[in-house]
Symmetry: C2
Subunit: 416 residues, 2 copies
């Protein structure tokens, strides 16, 4: 079912094995979805619930938007108050619960409270997420009805993945298995994306679970770093959202000693987390609104990490270059322009640029490249843009998509 | 001929009168164009020349891109070496002369030198501009042929305007007349825009002339300030170009005492310059690639000028909001999201937003606004987005357009 790219399979770190199940691949979790009428298309799943059998160590990263949604504000508050613990998250799609004032915060709390009541757990352990249209009051009566009727199962991962998507054309899920202290551990997750995608510090909606035991502070540190190199490096349209959220729950069912920075298997756990977040992040522009082609941008030999990241992100966030990709046009001058505007430290006369392995620019000037070959690589479903700044030794990767008529069709009529 | 909007006519500062003629409205200038085969569509004008009868005081602002074109690098060098003097500018369209290495700089110099030779003036007084595809060598033989055949006339302003455009659907020109020391003075100009438009510190191509006498340092100071509030506040697609250039020539034919900051008429001259640059800047997104609707964004009561500008520009540079405008959709949640990502200091709970005069958000929450009225104002050719931050007393305006299928059509196949 999952569109698991060849590249990522090859990339699987030593000691990791792919498994099915998404957010319920790890032991100790149940999940499900229901349709309660929040989305205008009746019958589409629009409420999803993920619940652990026991309280979990938990970590989260959230949008840096100054108009963050009420759900984001509430989750930040809860994770701080519990010192990094949670047991459930309830997610609605179709309404962002953003820009609804005090009522929005009351509705977010109510959504958590009715879920806590159903599950018989403390409300401080229930997180909430919303995605959809901004500025309309959350239909809390429908949410309450949905919470009452939703059923969760130990194999409910795929249902959960279905319940959180909006304009996504497919679900986005992965899970891996590995060994910690001789015990089998799993880590998996699901994400949603599609539009308003240019995260900064956190992103979109993504839910991760593991049955490893881990200390909350360690979890948070690993999650923030992994998100920075995955979700924070994708772009569909340059629009950071008000609701971006990544949550990680660790149930501890595997029975290992809680992981921390000095655990012998800390590095393997981090590799698993980075693999899962990177896979899910890449899935977002791969299924960006209207996207027909995917681009992987690698910037090498930058003087600093910030320069490498700025340069890579500027290329994924250039509408005019995204249009060139849509048209299979190796118009690399637009990559030059994107680099120029990026704010990254660079020397125009040292730039090398390859498109799909074809070196089109050397020392800032066009090479005598084969036009047909360049056109051919630009016509592939995946385009690799490789930039060498020759100014240092730091690299960064970013992922994006093209800009097509489909994006405009989806976004000119969204609130109807 | 000129599409001079009602709004701007009403806005004409006291003491200014509209006149025809563009860059040749001011006395002491001649201009013209020719077709020399740089553009692939044979017969389209692609070389333009503006020349003053005598050496002028001159000022310029240029792209801050780190991959600036060879013409931009050369003009910066020349204006510095002459201490703010110039007599001519030769402009080609169809080729950006950017990313061509040492050859690009040689070609830019050659373009200036052959023009200086034809005009019998010192090469240091001839500026050059290029616009078009990045990364292809400038066909210098065609440029030389064009320079040899081009004719300039005292009424050649409209021809010049035609010679500098690329994907623009029309020329963009204005001129005003006013009085300095009892002497009639004119100030006018032409610009080109259309795509790769999100200037920072300078912008696109724009040429301004006046027959007022003025001190170069004073001209430069006024031009930089006027550009900052005009061209630096427009957006078509968020892509800053490698070739952005604004030049101002003052011939002094009017015979006034050279203007400086303490001249009695300095304020009127500045008002004229601000009017002309703002008119021309607004013309760019009005004719943005594929644009069907124009937006004027006003951000009021920001704590600082930087906050006001960031907030206003973030709205014009939100593809997802630009799509809402294309679809006549009053989906103001996307304005909220753009404000949130802008980096401007704001309080979500104090935001007021009006669309075309309809107050849709008060204190960060939807008002009980008339949906039909909101939809109706979003269907107009011009949409006014008014944001009140209620945090200070500084305002800024920015101008942009919608995002349509036309933009993608133009940019998916540009280099063919």
């Amino acid at each position: 079912m999952t569109d698991y790219p060849e590249l990522m399979t090859r990339d699987l770190a030593a000691g990791l094995r792919l498994v099915d199940g998404g957010v319920t691949a790890a032991r100790g979790f149940r999940a499900g979805n229901t349709a309660c009428g929040i989305k205008s298309d009746a019958g589409l799943p629009d409420l999803a619930l993920l619940v652990a059998d026991e309280q979990c160590a938990a970590a989260g990263t959230f949008t840096t938007s100054k108009t963050a949604s009420h759900t984001v504000l509430l989750d930040r508050e809860k994770l701080a108050s519990t010192g990094g613990h949670a047991q459930a998250v309830v997610v609605n799609s179709g309404n962002a619960n953003c820009s609804n004032g005090e009522q929005g915060m009351l509705d977010a709390r109510r959504m958590a409270d009715v879920t806590a009541q159903k599950l018989g757990i403390d409300p401080s352990l229930v997180l909430v997420s919303s995605t959809g249209i901004i500025g309309r009051r959350l239909p809390i009566d429908k949410v309450e009805k949905g919470v009452a009727q939703i059923e969760v199962h130990p194999d409910g991962g795929p249902d959960f993945a279905q319940g959180i998507i909006t304009t996504d054309t497919r679900t986005k899920t992965i899970a891996v298995e590995f060994t910690v202290e001789g015990k089998t551990v799993r880590l998996g997750g699901s994400t949603k994306g599609a539009g308003m995608i240019y995260p900064n510090m956190a992103t979109m909606l993504c839910y991760l679970t593991t049955d490893a035991a881990a200390e909350p502070a360690f979890l948070q540190q690993l999650l923030s770093a992994a998100v920075d190199d995955s979700f924070n490096m994708v772009c569909v349209d340059g629009d950071m959202s008000t609701n971006d959220t990544v949550l990680l729950f660790a149930s501890g069912v595997a029975g290992n000693t809680p992981l921390n920075a000095s655990s012998p298997d800390a590095a393997l756990f981090e590799a698993a987390l980075r693999h899962v977040t990177r896979y899910l992040a890449r899935e977002i522009p791969r299924d960006g609104e209207g996207a027909s082609r995917f681009q992987t941008v690698t910037v090498r030999n930058a003087p600093t990490r910030a320069d490498a990241r700025k340069a890579a992100r500027a290329i994924t966030n250039s509408p005019i270059w995204q249009c060139a990709i849509a048209g299979s046009d190796p118009n690399w001058g637009r990559v030059i322009a994107a680099l120029g505007k990026s704010g990254a430290d660079l020397d125009h006369n040292k730039l090398d640029i390859s498109l799909g392995g074809v070196l089109v620019v050397h020392n800032g000037v066009a090479t005598d490249y084969d036009q047909a070959a360049a056109k051919q690589v630009m016509g592939q479903p995946e385009v690799a843009v490789d930039v060498d700044l020759h100014l240092g030794d730091v690299s960064a990767m970013a992922w994006g998509c093209d800009l097509t008529h489909g994006y405009i069709e989806e976004n000119a009529e969204y609130t109807r």
